[in-house]
């Protein structure tokens, strides 16, 4: 290997402000019961967080709870507790970690969070969501609202699907009114959506900045700092301002020609969620090769904003429905994801595709072997596939993954050297 690559110890405003905002939100959730605030559990994928906020329901996200426990190395005892209660080793470990926590009577990573007042299952692609929220409602005794979002199964948005989702959103509004005792104001929703659009603009702009060489941040590992605000806090002034600041910071870094590593040797697109229990060590495997993710599919689970879709405050419910139906990764087919990745590889000028296949989430992973076939054999894109899990540390085999990563980048480097001569 040439000169060792080092990570720029980047702890800028995006990182810092994201942590503060998420901590504030968790604090609000922890105080909600005492403050008499109605809370609603919902899922990240294609969510309608603006609507919940406009309905005076403070959103909480079991997925965020699960990932935060994993990143703090607290997930395994929770998973084992759920398995003791009857959950299979083959069930999604995100669910098991949450159930393990809920069996003790509450939620929350670190700070205890009371059970939600309502459980709003936005069934957007992931079938496990349905089971997860059935179980959460069963354990917590919270009211379950099933928001059924038809899968994007044709090449265009179906009018019948939009009507169906809008009708359910109207039912959700009525339910929230009865829970909170407060009337819904459509103009308040429009204001939320306008703030949301500002955040979407900012997130999209940041993601386009990684087309620069070097990319000013890692679109896989660093995106997590933006995924919290874009998925959880959309529709708030804080999120809109956060993205204004993020754009400013990343534009400055791009102008200065600074990236997250001392040298950007390889530009990758990463598919699949990260192994949260080993986030840092997984990142290091790529850092040492100077590999920077210039795009990632995981950063679009909540919404695909970089290709132009925005909520429309003039058509609030319809545009929320359209986003849930079509403008997020999880409600699209795995083969539609190939098209998204292909676009990333081409427009962001990536050298390779890295697929991190996780056992817990079959929505992401089932069929990724076919994806590899497509990219390697049909498009000639060098593709690495490694397996572990996003929540369960038992599935992370460090030495094995490292060997595969090293062999892959050695081959890429060799290919580059041969091409140069």
């Amino acid at each position: 290997m040439a000169q060792p690559v080092t990570e720029r110890q980047y702890q800028g405003i995006v990182h810092q402000r994201s942590r503060e905002l998420m901590a504030d939100w968790m604090g609000e959730l922890a105080r909600a019961e005492a403050d008499g605030v109605t809370t609603g559990a919902t899922m990240i994928s294609g969510n309608c967080v603006e609507l919940l906020r406009a309905c005076h329901v403070l959103p909480m996200f079991p997925e965020v709870v699960a990932l935060q426990n994993a990143i703090r190395h607290r997930s395994l005892p929770l998973i084992l507790k759920a398995e003791q209660a009857g959950y299979s080793s083959d069930n999604c470990a995100y669910v098991k970690a949450d159930v393990g926590l809920a069996l003790d009577g509450g939620m929350g990573p670190g700070t205890p969070i009371p059970f939600p007042s309502i459980v709003v299952c936005n069934y957007v692609g992931c079938n496990v969501y349905v089971k997860w929220f059935e179980h959460l409602a069963d354990i917590s005794g919270s009211r379950l609202f099933m928001l059924d979002v038809p899968f994007a199964r044709t090449d265009r948005l179906e009018d019948a699907d939009v009507r169906y989702v809008v009708a359910q959103l109207e039912e959700l509004i009525a339910l929230c009114e009865s829970l909170t005792g407060r009337r819904f104001d459509i103009d308040a929703l429009r204001e939320r959506l306008a703030l949301s659009v500002r955040a979407q603009d900012g997130y999209a702009r940041c993601k386009h900045l990684t087309k620069r060489r070097p990319a000013p941040f890692d679109a896989y590992f660093d995106s997590i700092n933006m995924m919290g605000p874009i998925n959880v806090l959309r529709g708030t002034v804080e999120a809109a301002e956060f993205f204004d600041a993020a754009v400013e910071e990343f534009e400055r870094l791009a102008a200065e020609g600074r990236g997250p590593l001392s040298e950007e040797r390889f530009r990758t697109v990463v598919e699949g969620p990260p192994p949260y229990p080993y986030y840092r060590s997984f990142r290091n495997l790529f850092t040492r090769w100077g590999a920077v993710a210039v795009q990632s599919t995981y950063s679009t689970v909540g919404g695909i904003w970089e290709f132009g879709f925005r909520h429309d405050p003039r058509r609030p419910l319809e545009s929320i429905a359209e986003q849930m139906l079509y403008e997020n990764l999880t409600n699209r087919s795995i083969v539609a994801r190939y098209a998204q990745i292909k676009r990333y590889v081409e427009e962001w000028e990536a050298d390779a595709l890295v697929i991190h296949s996780i056992k817990s989430c079959r929505l992401f992973s089932a069929g990724q072997g076919d994806m590899r076939e497509y990219f390697t054999r049909e498009l000639g894109v060098p593709t690495l596939l490694v397996e572990s899990d996003l929540e369960d540390p038992r599935y992370y085999a460090e030495a094995q993954i490292r060997n595969r990563v090293d062999a892959f980048f050695e081959a890429l480097e060799h290919r580059r050297l041969v091409a140069a001569h």
Partner: protein, 384 residues
């Protein structure tokens, strides 16, 4: 035909590759098309109404070795998904023109897209079945979805599904489901008159032929079974739950009985007997079928039902079949079954119904350990 002759015919039919079954039907029905449906439920009535053959697509069982599919789907994915894909790679679905998948689980969803990508010369339709069971908007939505699928067949092959034809097909499948309910009732009444493997073979064979042919096979069986010889044995009456998608090997069903169980209720081939009672035969048939899906469906791990706790449907089965115990039989890696297991077992615990779990894979071929486990379970209950 005698029951034994019917059983032999059914066993022979279900051993055939689905493509061969479809090809034979197409040869006898020039211009017809065959549409295979992946578990659990699909509107066979709509396929039938278009003059097509609806038939089940249930994986390769022990009949195919995975040579391509395991490079596409990982080791932690269920066998039925992989063997179904393998059937395509090895040409065992040649003769089938179209495939219908639905949102039963994340794997089936992805399999549908991978099928479409790898086998571009066939029609692959993905049906979104609603998980909201109570919204006033759900029935109109599902009716529109059923119409969309009908239009897709028409666009592909020019086979139109008219409302009168659909009403007639609903009547045909109502008649088939009534026979299947009668068969279940006969077995629950006198399980010694039909073995579980024979029962399963009949049930599965009925998913490979048009409703009219299945009825022709079932009627003589229903007539003959009550008089069939058989000595009742001292066995545990059990409900089998969890094998609604991947198919249990016949050997496993034999072991269940050999180890001391009478299966008196199950969720095998659930989609082909999906409705508790008849789909109404009046009004708009698309709406009628959609409304029946929402309001008359049997409990299933693949359909959210907010009006009934998941354990209640199982307890009702136990009560209705006068069962002594439940045997959970989830396929390896089957998330819907494995998740529901937890809620259902808690319900059984509360109600004091004993249960055990037998996880299986379609490719399983040694059953000695399973036999021991079931025997131990049966003995612990029979001689307590």
């Amino acid at each position: 035909m005698t029951p034994d002759e019917i059983f032999a015919r059914c066993r022979s039919l279900i051993a055939e590759p689905p493509g061969s079954v479809a090809s034979r039907w197409r040869a006898a029905h020039p211009g017809g098309r065959a549409v295979a449906v992946y578990p659990v439920w699909a509107p066979a009535e709509i396929i039938h109404a278009g003059g097509m053959l609806p038939l089940s697509l249930l994986g390769g069982g022990t009949s195919v070795e995975l040579t391509h599919a395991d490079a596409r789907f990982q080791s932690f994915v269920c066998s039925i998904a992989k063997s179904t894909l393998e059937l395509g790679f090895q040409g065992h679905v040649e003769g089938i023109d179209g495939f219908v998948f639905s949102n039963i689980c994340d794997v089936a969803r992805n399999l549908s897209a991978v099928y479409r990508r790898n086998f571009g010369d066939v029609v692959v339709e993905y049906l979104h079945l609603p998980q909201n069971s109570t919204s006033p908007a759900v029935v109109p939505y599902l009716a529109s979805e059923l119409r969309r699928v009908a239009r897709a067949f028409e666009a592909a092959w020019g086979l139109k599904v008219t409302e009168p034809a659909l009403a007639a097909s609903i009547a045909a499948y109502n008649a088939l489901r009534a026979r299947l309910r009668a068969l279940y009732a006969l077995r629950a009444e006198a399980p010694h008159r039909i073995t579980t493997p024979d029962f399963y073979a009949v049930l599965r064979a009925a998913t490979l032929v048009p409703a009219e042919d299945a009825i022709e096979m079932l009627d003589p069986l229903l007539a003959a079974l009550p008089a069939r010889e058989g000595r009742p044995r001292d066995r545990l009456r059990v409900v089998v739950e969890g094998a609604f998608c991947e198919q249990p090997p016949l050997g496993l069903l034999e072991v269940l009985e050999d180890a001391g169980c009478y299966v008196v209720e199950d969720d095998f081939l659930l989609g082909w007997r999906w409705f508790r009672d008849d789909v109404p035969d009046h009004g708009n048939p698309f709406l009628a079928l959609a409304a029946a899906y929402v309001n008359r469906a049997l409990a299933s791990s693949t359909r959210h039902e907010s009006r009934e706790h998941r354990a209640d449907g199982l307890l009702e089965k136990v009560r209705r079949a006068r069962a002594d115990a439940v045997i959970f039989m989830p396929a390896k890696f089957c998330e819907p079954a494995l998740f529901d297991y937890v809620l259902m077992k808690q319900g059984l615990d509360r109600a004091g119904v004993p249960y055990m779990t037998v996880e299986f894979e379609e490719k399983m071929w040694t059953f000695e350990r399973t036999r021991n486990e079931i025997e131990t379970f049966v003995e612990s209950l029979m001689f307590e």
